[in-house]
């Protein structure tokens, strides 16, 4: 029942890939992203997808990335159908659909293997203003909490006789009101307390707060970055120079 909320919780996995600096992971993700975007042959996209899956296995995250791919497969199918419908050739339509999958899985490498903590540091490193970073942090922190809240309210209202699954579309929407009202009220109370607690712990007291941790590129990170950049350059060279049959 509460597995949905669990899906929003980062799971720590021990893998050599997870241990890399988030910026290294970001670079790899971006390289895959660019390669998928620029690919003009099905074989290229297929190779990208295969490499992403290979990285996923290395990062012990095949299941999660696989699930992301499966979830976006529906939308890929939609892209395929629309293209066919508008007279784009079969092969090109397939290419567009696969390219979409490759792009999604490339980006998911970064998000699946990076903890919210690392994400926060990466955002700070990228120069995102502190308030925005903190808004992001609290959003991610409280999504599962608020979802659990929602389930509890649903249980409570069901036990008072609210029937969520009955009726036509309009009725069902209307049934959501007794869930949403307490949920919104709860969240407003929560954010009020949150604001008080932040103030009480000197949030915003200095323009440049320090941090317990600082991102540091290890030697391994540097070599992984270097190798991946060389690969990236090689792929771009192939894209430019070698004619691959579509």
């Amino acid at each position: 029942m509460h597995w949905v909320a669990g899906g929003f919780v980062f799971r720590r996995v021990e893998s050599p890939f997870h241990k890399l600096d988030p910026r290294t992971k970001l670079l790899i993700s971006l390289e895959f992203f660019a390669i998928s975007l620029l690919a003009f042959a099905i074989i290229q996209v297929a190779i990208v997808l295969a490499s992403v899956l290979f990285v996923a296995v290395y990062a012990k995250s095949l299941k999660r990335i696989g699930r992301t791919i499966l979830m976006s497969a529906g939308f890929a199918g939609f892209i395929f159908a629309i293209n066919l419908l508008f007279g784009v050739g079969l092969v090109s339509s397939l290419l567009y659909a696969l390219r979409f999958l490759a792009i999604v899985s490339s980006t998911s490498i970064f998000f699946v293997t990076t903890s919210p903590d690392e994400l926060e540091h990466t955002m700070k490193w990228l120069g995102v203003p502190r308030d925005i970073v903190f808004a992001f942090v609290t959003a991610v922190r409280f999504i599962p909490v608020i979802m659990l809240d929602a389930f509890q309210i649903m249980d409570a209202q069901k036990s008072r006789g609210l029937e969520l699954e009955k009726g036509n579309f309009v009725k069902r929407i209307r049934n959501m009101v007794p869930i949403l009202v307490p949920l919104v009220v709860n969240s407003v109370v929560r954010s009020g307390e949150l604001a008080e607690a932040m103030e009480s712990r000197a949030y915003g007291a200095t323009p440049k707060p320090t941090s317990l941790y600082k991102l540091r590129l290890s030697r391994k990170d540097k070599s992984v970055m270097l190798v991946s950049l060389l690969f990236f350059a090689a792929v771009l060279y192939i894209y430019l120079r070698v004619k691959v049959p579509v």
Binding site: A205, S211, L212
Partner: protein, 281 residues
């Protein structure tokens, strides 16, 4: 011991509110005290706490009269960043006071905001975790903690600011009895070891009366009783303010009416038993 909190003729009215929530409050808190603040719902306990740590008037605007001085500084004049190092505030629901994704990072939140050097933050975090016995939780995420652990972590976040005064607003109301009494022992421990002064809004009087040096009762925005817990609890007016008097103390008052005068006001059954035994001899 010196005076830590000095409140003089404090009145406060929230913006757009007709009634005064606090009326001419006078309160003096000495260093090292543990004070219970009690009173019926809506009498202004939380509001008074907000005045002590500066949320009023810095976050909540309104009509403010009188003065609150903490450790020699005027709450009204100093920014929250300074006040946060004097007074720590802990609320009922620890969930809403843990912002970060790991215990360690959360404890570091306050010191980070003060822009302390990394080494200093590290040592404060380690020291605080050791003090509260939560070192094994350092890398845990908030959702991996029990309610009692969350409460400890939230308290750690406050202690890491090295406050002289910690105020707690109904800290045990979401805890089971065992966890609640553990929190109370922790309060006692921090009080004796670090000399931290506590003001606690609490309904579970049985746990706190033993260590409290004083009890303050409020009603409709005014301070109505102030004294040793035994004095306040044996006062005949206390029942009128919706305070549940421990049964041992109630029995003492009943006996007194019948003409049986015990030497001391008992706060717990064990104290009462002892005194009765002495009488029988």
């Amino acid at each position: 011991m010196g005076s830590l909190v000095h409140i003089e003729k404090l009145s406060f009215r929230y913006l757009e509110s007709k009634q005064w929530t606090l009326s001419e409050i006078e309160l003096e808190v000495k260093e090292g005290e543990i004070i219970i603040l009690a009173g019926p719902s809506g009498c202004g306990k939380s509001t008074l706490l907000r005045c002590m740590n500066g949320l009023i008037p810095h976050m909540y605007p309104g009509d403010y009269q009188g003065s609150v001085t903490i450790d020699g500084i005027q709450v009204r004049e100093e920014p929250m960043g300074i006040l946060a190092q004097k007074v720590g505030l802990l609320f009922q629901n620890p969930e809403n006071q843990i912002f970060m994704f790991s215990v360690e990072r959360d404890i570091a939140f306050g010191p980070e905001n003060l822009a302390l050097p990394r080494q200093e933050i590290r040592s404060r975090v380690d020291e605080t975790m050791r003090l509260l016995g939560i070192e094994p939780l350092a890398q845990r995420a908030p959702h991996e903690l029990s309610d009692g652990q969350k409460q400890r972590v939230a308290l750690a976040g406050v202690i890491a600011m090295r406050p002289k005064l910690v105020i707690l607003d109904e800290p045990t109301s979401l805890l089971d009895p065992k966890t609640a009494s553990e929190l109370v022992s922790l309060i006692q421990d921090l009080n004796t070891r670090l000399g931290i002064t506590f003001v606690v809004v609490e309904h579970r009087l049985d746990l706190l009366t033993k260590l409290a040096t004083r009890m303050v009762v409020m009603n409709e925005g005014r301070k109505v009783l102030d004294g040793k817990p035994s004095e306040v609890l044996s006062n005949e007016r206390v029942g009128a303010y919706g305070i549940v008097v421990p049964s041992a103390t109630r029995l003492y008052s009943e006996l007194a009416k019948e003409g049986v005068k015990l030497a001391r006001v008992p706060l717990a059954p064990s104290e009462l038993t002892e005194q009765l035994r002495r009488i029988r001899r």
